[in-house]
């Protein structure tokens, strides 16, 4: 095969996929915005994405906060800047680590489950059955997941921020010998509303992207068990890449001078 033709075919395939994803996202947003809504399904997804992700997000956050305090100490102690550790921990958690780590963990846990569930529904004709029963798969399957993902990730990240800062506090007090009052004062002295808000905006975007990728790859899966497996992998990988890309873009939008 002509190498140029092969490159062209890959490029056209990429453009086709991007166009299909854009159409899918547009249709999904349209259905999510317009009634009727499915409160029972949204509540189920709220529990699945939010409540059942709390343990994994909480564990990730507390150990990240603890490690952050330790690593910061080893660096800052050389410049006698130990008092900055609490500030570094709280700013890192609220601006970056909270939303990104929670996003990546939820992408692995929930995005994969969404792709697997919807993919299985595709290959077992359940999605066709929905259509024949005059029920839009976008309204019934995709919209509740998008709504729940966009709403619940900020809640998870808020919890992750608090737990992560608490992890840093525990290490600071019990391991590094800081005073309780001094550590808390340093934590809140330089924390601004925009630091927390930017993290929550990121979280909402990440939640949307995780649900979108899970639904998209599941919806277009084909080829039986192998196809569902590939959809699951693609959902997690693409959601993770989009989270990291969106993280930079949103950071730039908030803090670039």
């Amino acid at each position: 095969m002509n190498p140029l033709a092969a490159i062209g075919a890959v490029f056209l395939d990429f453009l086709g996929g991007a166009g299909r994803l854009a159409l899918f996202a547009g249709a999904a947003l349209g259905h999510a915005a317009r009634p009727p809504y499915y409160p029972r399904l949204i509540l189920r997804q709220v529990l699945e994405i939010g409540y059942f992700s709390l343990p994994v997000v909480g564990l990730t956050a507390i150990f990240s906060g603890m490690v952050l305090a330790l690593q910061s100490y080893t660096g800052f102690v050389r410049f006698e800047a130990e008092s900055a550790i609490a500030t570094v921990v709280v700013l890192s958690m609220t601006r970056e680590l909270g939303p990104v780590l929670a996003g990546l963990m939820v992408a692995g846990r929930v995005g994969a489950a969404m792709a697997a569930e919807i993919g299985t529904m595709r290959v077992t004709e359940q999605i066709d059955a929905l259509v024949t029963l005059s029920t839009s798969p976008f309204k019934y399957l995709v919209a509740p997941r998008l709504i729940a993902g966009t709403l619940m990730l900020p809640c998870l990240v808020l919890v992750a921020d608090i737990i992560g800062v608490f992890g840093g506090y525990m290490v600071g007090i019990h391991k590094l010998g800081f005073g309780q009052g001094a550590y808390l004062e340093n934590t809140f002295e330089h924390l601004e509303t925009i630091d927390v808000v930017s993290g929550l905006v990121k979280a909402a975007a990440f939640g949307f992207l995780i649900a979108l990728m899970g639904c998209y790859h599941g919806y277009y899966s084909r080829g039986g068990a192998q196809g569902v497996g590939a959809a699951t992998t693609n959902a997690v990988v693409s959601a993770s890449i989009l989270i990291l890309t969106a993280n930079y873009l949103i950071t730039e939008a908030f803090f670039a001078r």
Partner: protein, 259 residues
């Protein structure tokens, strides 16, 4: 019969997947009150035919007219209005894993007709009883059902909204002969009671003989023979003869590899 207006009139239907032509200028009529069974080998496009009529696949050529309305390229609410006339029993039953049995059956009532859940549940239990399943099954998950029970639940879901046309996609595939006959009896009883028009696809000749009033044979993307069920043994068509007698030798050459 051909002078009457058919419920479904298909003319010149064509669909291809890449280079593979599945349906090629197919013509077919489904008349009021009849039970038409389309027979044909595996991979000849029987399921594709049903999916084209239901709008799950968009044909590349031809027209599909339901009750005088061209539905070939209908979308959105117009398509939903047409689909309200149809019930469908899928080959795998296609029950929703996330819902208990009763909610699967009540789904068309709750979602499309907004019937209150308590009322829909009572109707669902009555339909489950009509297909021989007791209330103890109602709270089970589809994963806890046998193949025959899944087909029964799928049948209950297909008839619960009292459609005027029901499609059966391989209703007996994967069942033992006794359970297959039970499902055939249920299909016949339910459709007679409701007075509906049915279109079934199968390669199970015993099932076709039991539920059909008319049989059509699909081969090479076209209907190559159609006639009353009583005439299938003297069709005079070599393809039909080979198929109903299950002979390897004859004009039908089975592809051993996917195209």
């Amino acid at each position: 019969m051909s002078d009457a207006q058919p419920r479904i009139r298909i003319r010149g239907l064509g669909i291809a997947f890449g280079p593979k032509v599945v349906l090629d200028r197919l013509d077919l009529d489904l008349f009021e009150g009849e039970s038409l069974v389309v027979i044909g080998g595996s991979g000849t496009g029987k399921s594709v035919l049903l999916k084209c009529i239901l709008g799950l696949l968009e044909p590349g050529a031809g027209t599909i007219v339901v009750d005088g309305e061209d539905v070939t390229h209908l979308k959105g609410r117009a398509r939903d209005a047409v689909l309200a006339k149809f019930g469908m029993l899928f080959q795998s039953a296609a029950l929703f894993d996330s819902l208990p049995v009763w909610e699967n059956v009540a789904f068309p009532l709750i979602q499309a007709r907004h019937v209150p859940r308590a009322e829909a549940r009572a109707i669902a239990l009555a339909k489950l009883a009509a297909v021989g399943l007791g209330p103890d099954v109602a709270m089970l998950s589809p994963a806890e059902l046998s193949g025959g029970m899944k087909k029964r639940v799928g049948l209950a879901r297909a008839i619960v909204a009292e459609p005027s046309i029901i499609f059966f996609d391989e209703p007996t595939t994967g069942l033992d002969p006794i359970m297959a006959d039970v499902i055939n009896d249920l299909v016949v009883d339910c459709t007679r009671e409701l007075g509906v028009t049915t279109l079934s696809i199968t390669h199970d000749l015993a099932s076709a003989r039991k539920i059909a009033t008319r049989i059509a044979m699909l081969h090479d993307g076209r209907i190559i023979w159609t006639g009353p069920v009583a005439t299938i043994d003297c069709s005079g068509n070599a393809h039909v003869d080979q198929f109903i007698h299950g002979r390897a030798e004859g004009p039908i050459k089975m592809a051993v590899r996917a195209p």
